[in-house]
């Protein structure tokens, strides 16, 4: 098969010394960033993005992708040890992970998390290997009208995801759209919302916005809500007592496989990310699992379900990103920004025009996932040190990286002011419980949406019919109506939604 051949070549690319080092560095940084409470993959990838501009695109994305998925391993550490999820996909991990560590089984919980992450991630990569090229082939039949619907679908499912408070998520989506319209419009070439500032003619730059909202926003949160970041006394863990026994392994395996599949599938959907994947897998396991009564009280199944699913979803999210150019989550939106800055055009043609890049990345994931597993397990004894890095050190260090990283991209001090402003915006939004990730996603998607709508009308000469001509458009349109109407109908009939999503933030 052609794909297997390409995959083997990709693995060859990934095994080059330079790319191995990149995957290794990304994996270690991802683990550390993930393990530190509060800093998620989004901030990690955003802060590192400026460092990758001098690398070749393949090496750069191998490093950032490794950081992204190893972050899913790392996120579980502080969830299990401190009951503080390192980032939102790990929220579900803490439900069983923390009770386990209170029972004195912290090591086992960490081991389960790492192994399940590996299983879920591997399932995700295998599915990506086969679905990615198929989706790209399928994507070639997408015209501007179909792409318009696909983006609208991604945007509406954000609101659908936020659960019982969809208004906040949709408000964030609207804000992202507004910020994205600053700068020259492509139809007439006139500056919009620039307030006479030349720096804004080309629009709000991506890097300052991301670093500001997720890096500096984090700094502000650490300074304001200092108590949430209190450190705890450390205790020693050893690998020996962490390894699960035969009986536990038998309990973990089916759960991890099931959740890995479900998580990957959710990750592939545009707009649905790792948090959603972990959430649904956990709920499913609680409904149908063999050991459902113990879930929430420190069952290995709970940890396995959440971790396998969020790693599967992290891998799955690469499918729409690479094959259609549509990011499925906040972090993949940042990766999309990176791809464009390295001069690559994500979309159906990426597989055709840059096969060495795509397959190098996919190949590196197989290797990176193994690297992550090994590092994660070996680091169990020293984890306590990482999760207890005091916020007193993190605040000035992250601030410094925010300034230099932002400045160095365009050598512009205006970008640094913009970054600071974005951090303040993120803080204001947090006061009103408005999640920041949908803003970022719609900021990235809106310019594409504007372009595709314009192209659709150019083709049709102004007729609306172009949007419902093809079968693909009809299917996407039906899905959008279904997604947006279902929550409203459920409310009207006063039935509880199938899952309670009140605890989700992005």
């Amino acid at each position: 098969m052609g794909n297997v051949q390409l995959l083997l070549e990709g693995i060859g690319t990934a095994l080059s010394f330079q790319n191995l080092i990149a995957a290794f560095a990304g994996a270690i940084m991802g683990l550390i960033v993930g393990a530190m409470p509060g800093i998620g993959s989004l901030a990690g990838v955003a802060l590192l993005l400026p460092l990758t501009f001098k690398m070749n695109p393949t090496t750069a994305i191998i490093m950032l992708a490794a950081l992204y998925y190893s972050n899913m391993y790392g996120g579980s550490f502080s969830a299990i040890l401190l009951n503080i999820p390192g980032d939102s996909p790990a929220i579900m991990t803490s439900l069983d992970g923390y009770p386990m560590s209170r029972k004195g089984e912290a090591g086992k919980a960490l081991f389960t998390a790492s192994v399940s992450s590996f299983i879920g991630g591997t399932i995700g990569i295998i599915m990506l290997t086969f679905i990615g090229p198929l989706a790209a082939k399928w994507g070639l039949s997408f015209g501007p009208a179909e792409l318009t619907w696909l983006i609208v679908l991604a945007l509406t499912s954000i609101g659908w995801l936020i659960g019982d408070k969809p208004a906040a998520g949709l408000l964030a989506t609207a804000l992202g759209m507004m910020i994205a319209t600053v700068g020259f419009d492509k139809a007439l070439g006139q500056p919009r919302f620039a307030f006479g500032n030349v720096n804004l003619f080309s629009g709000v730059a991506f890097i300052p916005l991301v670093i500001g909202m997720f890096g500096f926003g984090q700094v502000i949160d650490m300074v304001v809500n200092r108590d949430n970041y209190a450190s705890v006394s450390s205790k020693k863990l050893s690998i020996k007592e962490s390894i699960v026994n035969k009986d536990e392994a038998k309990r973990i395996a089916p759960v991890a496989v099931r959740s890995g599949l479900l998580g990957t599938f959710i990750g592939i959907l545009p707009g649905a990310g790792a948090t959603m994947g972990a959430f649904l897998s956990y709920v499913t396991e609680k409904k149908i699992g063999k050991n459902k009564d113990q879930m929430g009280k420190g069952a290995v199944e709970g940890v396995a379900a959440a971790e396998a699913a969020n790693n599967g979803a992290a891998m799955g999210a690469f499918a729409p990103l690479l094959s259609l150019g549509i990011p499925g989550s906040g972090t993949s939106a940042v990766l999309l920004g990176g791809l464009m800055m390295w001069g690559l055009q994500p979309g159906p043609l990426l597989f055709k025009n840059n096969p060495d890049f795509v397959w190098g990345l996919i190949g590196s994931m197989y290797i990176g996932n193994i690297i992550c597993l090994i590092i994660a397990i070996l680091s169990i004894p020293i984890l306590m040190k990482v999760v207890t890095v005091p916020s007193s050190l993190m605040v000035p260090l992250i601030s410094s990286i925010c300034i230099i990283g932002t400045y160095s991209v365009n050598n512009s001090m205006f970008d640094v002011y913009l970054m600071i402003g974005a951090g303040v915006l993120a803080y204001l939004m947090s006061l009103a419980d408005i999640p920041a990730a949908p803003l970022l996603l719609s900021f990235v998607l809106t310019p594409m949406l504007e372009m595709y709508i314009r192209q659709s009308f150019d083709i049709s000469g102004g007729s609306l019919g172009v949007f419902i001509q093809s079968p693909i458009s009809k299917v996407l349109c039906t899905l959008i109506i279904l997604f947006s109407v279902t929550p409203i109908l459920l409310k009207i009939f006063n039935k509880k939604p199938p899952v309670d999503m009140s605890e989700m933030d992005a």
Partner: protein, 141 residues
Amino acid sequence: MKKGVSVGFILAGVYWIVMSFSYGLWVMNGPGGGFMPLIGGILAVIFGIAVLIEAIKEGTSPSFDFKVLIPVGALLAVIILSKLIGLILSIAVYLFIWLKFYEKESTKLTILVTILCPLACYLIFVMWLKAPLPRGILGIL
């Protein structure tokens, strides 16, 4: 503060709607430059009002904490200082003052971080990435 924030976003939405008309909503058989701002503005107003209603129902929400001004002010100070002594040295000064006087860390740790972090930044950004960081009018680094 939730009410205040949502009102602010509603006003921003209104501004976007008003301005969108001047950018042209429909030109040459297709959406003009005002089309997307109009949609974004309308959505912001609708969901801003929804969030505002939520906030009124809930009653209390976290209030604005003026501690926000500390990190913001610190970064602005770094930018201003960078015009004089350059960005790398300004960051070193910031790290020292922040760790020693705000966080009250030990002198040993403070000096260690003050030296290592700017050094790493210098090696990565100046030596490796060749980014022309501001050197300030004194032009030291």
